[in-house]
Subunit: 297 residues, 3 copies
Amino acid sequence: EITFSGTAVMGVGDNGDSLDNSARSVMETYLTATASGETDTGLSFGLESTFATYTTDDEEFTDDGTSVFISGAWGKLSMGDVTEADEMPGSFSDIGGLSGLGVDDVAETYTGDEAAGEFDRESHDVNYTYSGGALTAAISAQIGAQGDLDGEGDGYALGLKYSFGDAYVGIGYNDDGVDAYTDVAGSATTLYAGGTFGAFGVKAMYTDFSADTGSILPDGEAFGLHVSYTVEALTLMAQYAQSDAENPVSFENYEAFGVGAAYDLGGGASVVGGVAQITDWDRDDETVWEAGFSFSF
Amino acid sequence: EITFSGTAVMGVGDNGDSLDNSARSVMETYLTATASGETDTGLSFGLESTFATYTTDDEEFTDDGTSVFISGAWGKLSMGDVTEADEMPGSFSDIGGLSGLGVDDVAETYTGDEAAGEFDRESHDVNYTYSGGALTAAISAQIGAQGDLDGEGDGYALGLKYSFGDAYVGIGYNDDGVDAYTDVAGSATTLYAGGTFGAFGVKAMYTDFSADTGSILPDGEAFGLHVSYTVEALTLMAQYAQSDAENPVSFENYEAFGVGAAYDLGGGASVVGGVAQITDWDRDDETVWEAGFSFSF
Amino acid sequence: EITFSGTAVMGVGDNGDSLDNSARSVMETYLTATASGETDTGLSFGLESTFATYTTDDEEFTDDGTSVFISGAWGKLSMGDVTEADEMPGSFSDIGGLSGLGVDDVAETYTGDEAAGEFDRESHDVNYTYSGGALTAAISAQIGAQGDLDGEGDGYALGLKYSFGDAYVGIGYNDDGVDAYTDVAGSATTLYAGGTFGAFGVKAMYTDFSADTGSILPDGEAFGLHVSYTVEALTLMAQYAQSDAENPVSFENYEAFGVGAAYDLGGGASVVGGVAQITDWDRDDETVWEAGFSFSF
């Protein structure tokens, strides 16, 4: 028989070591599997295996899929691999349904974990979200300069979402807190709108990015639209995304368009697939595709 | 309380990035542990930890113990860390019972995950197996040049097994798909036979390897025999394996012989041990041994 | 639905390879998660993911949180990430309650996994413990020179604990088994005493370290005291630790003092925090602190 137990800590502190000189976020989780058995003569045997996660004391902050939270009527405080607050109002899904073809990444050039392509503009480890009626408000931050970019500091983001019926509008803002003269410093403001209208679904986002003086990124804007149509078990999707830098040099203009489909087999299984035409940091007007199965348990 | 959920995708696609220029297999799995609790005053707290596996988009294909499947009357399609089809008819167990002493690896010089010693001749990520009555047929492949060998391409293998009573015969074939002029290219045909006859068990395999022109491996053959005898809780085992290269230079002739025992303590526990005399890529006529406990839960 | 199964082996052996030339401890664990589902038309799908641990065949022995055991009236034999026997009688907790501020590490300069600061004096992979009435005795060892220090050999430790009522006394001894002329070789004897007296708790330890001739560590001693006071849900803690080298050069004298508090919220949650003044291998009379939540599931 195998059973699980766990512990977690979350908080802030200053450990005074040579890596940082100010308060930083602290989070650790320990998930322990315990297996036990008994021989015919009554000897006990077993194993104990602990899966430990240290999100915030690594030099490089890791979005490793682990988070800890405490919540009440006052809202929810999370640490670890949290949602960046400016993405809360309406983050996109991608085309393809397997690994994803990356159409959404073009629209999210300046927002979220993938922001700024190979750079790492925004990667937060603390999130506080409050929901009251139709309104949801969130703030997220990276506490302590634990990142791998020179001069990286305390970045933060804000998000606000208003829902009415099956539709929503929202706004998000992020400031990466990195050092302008060596990195991708700037702030991004994003507008979101979307909803489900019968068989149709739509999601749109527009980001305006304002670079700090000295940033290696120029000013720019990004736009994305995702539409879907569902009839019985079949859902068809199309997505367009564009990212324009005002003065592109090392950071070019990107564009992506894709169509996809998912057919629900029931029980948590789907047949999925998609094809897209993508120009981004890694691909120059290439046609990409994927097709297969998606399962949930 | 700790609960688990999961998702998985499997399929094929072309992501158009600089690592590969053709279709490759796509597989990802996400296993999520969710822990929750409640304080005396009704606050909720918890953790969520996701263990993610990306089998096929790493530069180096990883046999990491993760696979995904879909199956029906038409057979079973698996992706990830799958059985190489030419090993399906009758792969060996090893002598020792702990980490294993490596006697079987000599017989499997040209087949399976360990093929070609420190080289990596065969490591597949897709398997399709069909069983109909006494007959089992399988095909496996590596789709996309994601391996770490120069010129590695799409390798594949076939296997066929016929069972009668407690005995079986089978045949397997693999072609590694690597570039002959830099690597260990060639094809291997393997015959299998074995069965359980009262207290006795026997497994045998013989492989004929035909190197491609320019391969750093010469032609060769490998042979293995594993016999066992069980009386009540005690099982005794002996294994002999030999691998002969036709024109050995960098790839020498190997030979291994071992004996082992396992005593079943009941409840999933055994006392195990073995000793072997081995000449292979790492050991020159050395006596190796191991002894201890084996548990299953 | 997701279910778990597992296997484990533990023992000793000699694999004859180029890494070691004598018996070494052998331990492997495999924990497997199996997920399954069924589509509306009756197709089966699933995933299988195995988390494997090889504690002892890595070049660097890893305290990775995984252990295997077999136990009976004769005691308990463990392998993997085990308690060093000389720490068994009374290891400390730290101040802070999150990652811990490191006050205890100063008292444990010569004992346990953290022994000798950045060095790795003691890290065992086998432990045998016997408990009979008030007496507990333990022996632990590292079998086989698998460590990363030049000349590292078979280290071992002994521990003895006598309990009376809610109090205890104990003694521990360790010898690291490393090569004196290149490393931190020596032996450490530690006395322990402590207990719970109503609302008060106390734990004390004193270690005398005797360096081998040629060790880069001088002779030294370390001392630690941890006191606590609990009133209803609140526990207050104070800890003092000191480590003195007789002839300090590269290995300085350390001192640490800290106070902490934990407030039990019920259900496995606590508010925790602490502050300490620490001089050790990484910090020179620095004030460090942490505060937050601690959860168990």
